[in-house]
């Protein structure tokens, strides 16, 4: 073990000082490569095409490089993935009319009376709207009422959400998607907030973190979904920790303890107790701390150092130090640096998961 450690230290030192900086230009190049053509390891993610696009386009925006994309082409492609009900009556048939994750889950409509499977999904819908927001598309042109109206059918009696009307697991991830969709559309009619709130609160574990469903082991991603959803729905405020916390619906001190303990000795964040640090939790857990107003308690210097060990020489970020980068971890690496207030990086709307939009910039 000691030998390994020495080796790491040496190779670290060998890389020189220039590696210790956030390399914005290289990250932009990495996104450009992925924007033009996705590498083959993503083939299994075809169904999540929109989500990958979200990482790239929102990534460009965080890096102040939105000029690298063909805005009109992006908008056309995204709008082409929206599912539309044939008529008003169809909105009440229990199906969800949002966005498809990719072409393969979409069927061209046929007029022969055969029911056309509609596979639009909450997560894809979130990503589609997030991209449209990022490129400053005029939301009044979106058929938002059919999204909201049909989304209502996805909420379960316990308050959780199913992501797709044909049925799938129900948990906090999709409560978050529903909340963020409602927030982006500025239309909350598709969600029973009170029920959703109660479901979220029932997921807080004895240690202060949140599991994806009640009783589950607390998890960084689930905790983000819980806190960001409550924030979006207006049940909690920003900067809870600087105020009296006794009237808050959450057990804030316990949550804070749990989140702060997720920063490991190497400076990075882990998603669950006693796991190794992973780039993306700098956003999931760091984001919760930011919403709570407690990011001043985390050790920014060591977090930055950890993240830089995950910065790839090809641009982008990897999950663990010194591995190959991927889009998911790259995006959350960028967002983490945005929270660390890196120069040349756009500020972030934590609970929406995208950059702050300045309408005049585009």
């Amino acid at each position: 073990m000691a030998d390994d450690g020495d080796l790491l230290c040496r190779s670290h030192a060998d890389r020189g000082l220039e590696d210790q900086l956030f390399d914005r230009e290289r990250h932009i190049r990495y996104l450009e490569m992925n924007y033009q053509i996705l590498p083959s390891p993503y083939e299994s993610q075809e169904i999540n095409h929109l989500t990958l696009a979200y990482f790239i386009i929102s990534g460009f925006h965080i890096l102040h490089a939105l000029d690298r994309i063909d805005r009109e082409a992006v908008i056309d492609w995204i709008l082409s993935l929206q599912a539309h009900p044939k008529n008003e009556a169809e909105l009440n048939n229990g199906q969800f009319y949002g966005f498809h994750g990719s072409r393969s889950s979409q069927f061209q409509s046929v007029g022969n009376g055969v029911s056309v499977p509609n596979n639009s999904h909450l997560a894809s819908t979130y990503c589609a709207l997030a991209i449209l927001k990022t490129v400053d598309y005029d939301f009044s042109l979106i058929d938002s009422s059919s999204i909201s109206k049909s989304m209502k059918h996805l909420q379960q009696s316990d308050g959780s959400f199913m992501p797709i009307h044909t049925g799938a697991e129900t948990d906090l991830r999709f409560v978050y998607c529903a909340a963020v969709i409602s927030s982006l559309l500025d239309n909350w009619s598709g969600i029973d907030k009170e029920k959703a709130k109660n479901y979220i609160l029932s997921c807080q574990s004895y240690d202060g973190g949140f599991g994806l469903i009640p009783g589950q082991e607390s998890h960084g991603g689930a905790t983000y979904c819980a806190v960001a959803s409550l924030r979006l729905m207006g049940f909690i405020e920003d900067d809870l920790v600087s105020k009296c916390t006794s009237s808050c619906i959450l057990d804030v001190p316990l949550l804070l303890d749990w989140c702060l303990q997720r920063q490991a000795v190497d400076g990075g964040f882990q998603g669950r107790p006693n796991k190794i640090s992973d780039t993306c939790y700098a956003f999931w857990v760091g984001g919760v701390l930011k919403i709570l107003g407690a990011n001043k308690f985390l050790n920014e210097r060591t977090l930055r150092e950890f993240l830089l060990t995950c910065q790839s020489e090809y641009g982008g970020f990897s999950k663990f130090p010194r591995q190959l980068p991927d889009l998911y971890h790259s995006y959350y690496g960028f967002t983490a640096f945005s929270m660390l207030q890196e120069t040349g990086v756009n500020s972030l709307n934590i609970e929406l998961g995208i950059s702050t939009i300045h309408h005049t910039n585009i």
Binding site: P39, T166, G167, Y206, S242, S247, N274, K319
Partner: protein
């Protein structure tokens, strides 16, 4: 999924990947065609299975399988159990193949749950599969969740599942997922009162031993310590809510005819009202009493409950003594946030002597100076002193001794063990655990008086931790402060050392009530409020306080010095809203307004936290004055108070405009930052 940077590919590579792409593309288009045309034949399902095997993330393919499954079973005119079984086996096999490709596929695990809940399947088969995946990745939370699902569906006993966590921990005690499931299972067993697990002392002893093996093997691994913390919490958790102190205290004599009554419980409770608590003056039961909660938590529960009582004086001019009795009428109606009722009966009796001299005691308009030069120790004969004495001598009479013998034995044995560990391991979390055990030991002692025999050791441990682990300095500091206050408030004698009174600077007249001086102690947090309900004057200056949460229980407080602390915003002073007797307040030299995030973002536009009823009035108050709108927080804290003397100098927020705002807001103000107002 790991995107690889593009390197020049060899022609062979390119050929291979082109072939693979072509194959997937062809499978996909055949599948989509079948899906579109609702074809669910054996061949169509095989194509789908191949597709899923190469890409388990393809959710549309899973959804198609569900449709096919339902279609193929609905065509059976009568239940053919062999057929159903073969269809189900087929589905389970497809899932298993997909999981072998990617054991973190949400879609695959969900499909399995979906199939299993449609009908019978062998429990053994599922457990075998789970064992495979839980060995492969012991922290795989999909597998752990699926395990809980199967255990629930198949009614596998919690004991059996507990044994599984034991096995997993024996394989690797670093597996926190196993410890987590263990705490969930034990909670179930306790809740269901399963023999061998109820009452909790039966399993706690074994669990302490079990986790000790892990902790002693590698004291630097976190998982065991977390579980130990959970066990300690289960051990010290109060079994039921109970009254721990009150104002006025039992057996006391007070001389004011209108006074607050505060009931302080050992944990937050709800249901304190006319039905559950009776207030009796002489023989008459008072019916027009409203109990209110001081600082509600999320369940509308609170530790401190307040009402005000006015003794009806009637015709008589002569001095008279009234006997007041406050007792639990229906204690089951008072319940904790976990729905545990208060089952002990309690009652407090005190006397109110109506003596007109005391009624005339007016407020001095002189400025009160709380300086060292003016401070003197308390005269033994003073009236306040008597009250103070009765508080301490009798307060413990209605503290119920808990059935805590097993608790103290358990904690004593843990103390021995962890003292031993620290003798050979330098380990910060070990020190922290020892400090927590020592505090727990003092808290559940069988003696009626608060036990502080270990506080010195606790303070020493936290001091060491502050040096050893500077990253968590503030946490240790807070714990240090709470332990220190526990010690200060443990007895009359120790409190006396911190009490005194102020003389007027020009004469030797005593001004104001007895003052508790907890200044310059570098406290970062305050606590032990249940033993401070008598305090009328409190000096907390020159500490490091960020918050005064809990101070609202001190309803007699008329004079409070918070100068030279680290209070960062007016919201952090929110407890002051409840202190209606407050006349003299010093918040000078804090950090109010120094943190932009604290002061500028929650203006009156936020309807969320500011649910109290000042909003309308504030609008009227601020009419025509744009700048006043920025003072919402200060308005919400001070608006309902009648403060006579206020010091705010030395805060970023205290500019000239703010001073004018305060003068307008507080008509009773006589002194502001040492200057007399006219």
């Amino acid at each position: 999924m790991h995107g690889r940077p593009r390197k020049p590919a060899t022609p062979v590579d390119e050929n291979a990947s082109a072939l693979k792409a072509a194959k997937i593309r062809s499978l996909q288009s055949q599948f989509l065609l079948n899906h579109h045309n609702n074809i669910y034949t054996k061949e169509a399902l095989e194509i789908n299975a191949k597709l899923i095997e190469s890409n388990p993330e393809f959710m549309t393919a899973w959804n198609y399988r569900k449709l096919a499954f339902e279609h193929n079973l609905s065509n059976q005119s009568e239940a053919d159990s062999d057929h159903i079984k073969s269809v189900m086996d087929e589905e389970l096999q497809v899932v298993e193949n997909a999981l072998r490709k990617n054991f973190k596929s949400y879609g695959a695990w969900h499909h399995r749950k979906w199939v299993i809940s449609k009908g019978s399947s062998s429990t053994e088969r599922e457990l075998r599969l789970l064992n495979l995946f839980q060995k492969q990745d012991t922290r795989n939370f999909h597998a752990w969740n699926y395990r809980r699902f199967i255990a629930g569906l198949k009614n596998i006993s919690d004991e059996k599942e507990l044994q599984f966590t034991t096995d997993m921990i024996n394989d690797n005690f670093s597996n926190y997922s196993a410890w987590h499931n263990r705490s969930v299972l034990l909670s179930h067993l306790l809740e269901k009162k399963v023999v061998g697990y109820f009452p909790k002392e039966i399993f706690l002893k074994e669990e302490y031993e079990f986790v000790r093996n892990a902790v002693f093997t590698d004291p630097d691994d976190q998982s065991g310590w977390f579980y130990h913390l959970w066990l300690l919490d289960q051990t010290v958790k109060v079994d039921m809510p109970n009254l721990v102190s009150s104002w006025p205290p039992h057996g006391s004599e007070i001389t004011k005819t209108t006074f607050p009554i505060v009931l302080f419980f050992n944990e937050p409770v709800e249901g304190v009202n006319l039905q559950t608590v009776s207030v009796q003056v002489e023989d008459a039961i008072f019916k027009n009493i409203t109990w209110s909660l001081l600082s509600a938590n999320k369940f509308k529960c609170g530790q401190a409950w307040l009402t005000h009582l006015t003794i009806p004086l009637g015709e008589t001019n002569s001095s008279k003594i009234f006997q007041v009795k406050i007792s639990s009428e229906y204690s089951q109606g008072i319940i904790s946030s976990n729905d545990v009722p208060c089952s002990q009966h309690w009652s407090i009796e005190f006397r109110v002597s109506v003596c007109h001299d005391f009624q005339l005691e007016g407020q001095s308009l002189r400025r009160m100076l709380m300086t060292d030069e003016n401070f003197c120790t308390v005269g033994i004969n003073s009236n306040v002193m008597d009250l103070f004495k009765s508080y301490f001598e009798l307060a413990s009479d209605y503290e119920q001794p808990t059935s805590s013998k097993w608790k103290s034995e358990m904690i004593a044995s843990e103390l021995d063990q962890y003292r031993e560990l620290l003798s050979w391991a330098e380990c910060k979390i070990g020190k922290l655990t020892l400090a927590r055990l020592l505090m727990a030991n003092d808290a559940i002692g069988t003696t009626v008086a608060p036990n502080t025999s270990h506080v010195e050791e606790v303070l020493k441990l936290y001091s060491e931790l502050m040096e050893l682990d500077p990253a968590h300095y503030q946490y240790y500091k807070d714990e240090y402060s709470l332990a220190f206050l526990k010690q200060v408030t443990s007895s009359k004698e120790s409190l006396m050392k911190y009490c005194g009174q102020y003389k007027e600077s020009t004469s030797s007249n005593i001004t104001g009530p007895m003052c508790l001086r907890l200044n310059s102690l570098s406290l970062s947090q305050i606590g032990s409020f249940e033993r401070l309900l008598w305090v009328q004057s409190l000096d907390l200056s020159h500490n490091q306080l960020h918050s005064i949460e809990g101070l609202e229980a001190l309803q007699l407080l008329s004079c409070l010095n918070l100068s030279h602390n680290k209070v960062g915003s007016f919201m952090a002073l929110d407890p002051l809203r409840f202190l209606k007797s407050l006349r003299v307040l010093n918040i000078s030299y804090n950090e109010i307004g120094a943190h932009t995030v604290d002061t500028r973002r929650y203006l009156c536009s936020s309807p969320l936290s500011h649910t109290f009823d000042y909003d309308k009035k504030f609008e009227e108050f601020a009419t025509g004055d744009e700048k006043v709108l920025n003072c919402w927080e200060a308005y919400s804290v001070f608006g309902g108070l009648d403060i006579m003397q206020l010091d705010v100098v030395g805060n970023a927020a205290a500019d000239e405009r703010f001073m004018l705002f305060l003068v307008k807001l507080l008509p009773g103000l006589k002194w502001l930052d040492g200057e007399e107002l006219h």
